[in-house]
Homo-oligomer: 202 residues x 2
Amino acid sequence: MNSGDLVGKRVIPSISIALVHHPVLNRRGELITSAVTNLDIHDIARVSVTYGVKKFFVVTPLREQQQLVATIRKHWQEGIGGVLNPDRHTAFQLVEVCSTVEEIPRLISSSVLEDSLTIIGTSAREYGSSLSWKNFQKGVCKKEFDSILLLFGTASGLHPDCIALCDHLLSPIDPGTGYNHLSVRSAVSIILDRISRFQEAF
Amino acid sequence: MNSGDLVGKRVIPSISIALVHHPVLNRRGELITSAVTNLDIHDIARVSVTYGVKKFFVVTPLREQQQLVATIRKHWQEGIGGVLNPDRHTAFQLVEVCSTVEEIPRLISSSVLEDSLTIIGTSAREYGSSLSWKNFQKGVCKKEFDSILLLFGTASGLHPDCIALCDHLLSPIDPGTGYNHLSVRSAVSIILDRISRFQEAF
């Protein structure tokens, strides 16, 4: 089932995801390029298929890291991995590698008009201008956000240069305990589950 | 903030989690003991603190694997890991190792009466007798399930002998795409987020 379809009585927007390894921040707030983590790709590809995500982009400008992702994907797409584990073969169909966030809009299916794509960044921090979950739901239900690209930062999160590319920055997942150090794997999972339930009262 | 407290307007039950490595199933439906995965412990400890979980039990009967978990925990509790990364130190405070699921009720704080503990198993499969999410919510809101132990199976899921220990088996996370191969890390994250939002319409 593709995103954009009806799932039960719930309307799901067309969603793509980008896992950003550059430009991101380290613990000291400095600009870095983080290393690709194998398990990130597996977990996020699996949860993406589960929730009908259209494409999952692994963003890194480093050629060697791009080749690493391509090798992993090939193992599960063409190699013995996909034969022994067909579910993983399905998940890796969503995985694309690219160098920058900027090039993603034109990589997303031509059926989606570039100017209708809403880029939404995620963060563990609340900004004054953050998009609340309630307004995010309203925007999706009113079809204001019909085609979405969700950006997830690795390391200590998206660099301001990357946040500047976003139409909105989503309020953090905040159950109220004050601890906001989820893995990116957990954050993607929770955010996709919440979006999938948007038609219900929020 | 401890579980059982009010988080905003939401009532959260007292929750503990067990990540079960035995008895679980392999892909062929055979009884196995799976290997402990370092990243499982990190991710699940982090999401557990985020959602106010009381204890996170890593269940394995293998002495060497128990020692491995103890070594990892010590690194983040007493070693340089916790100094460099205090957030991980906090997360690992929840981690306990034990040999069997059966011994968990008496390991949970004495403030919780053993007979009030509801053991809820999780599965990627729907059983005829599964507890629906709606009824789970009702049970929590009516305080029928006040203190909960959630069991998560590694590998291909909980063995029937483990399911037999459960008071209820929870309906799977099912957004309707037909793909039900989430990582246990994603499943724990999504289930805790859903429970944390139980007071809202479901």
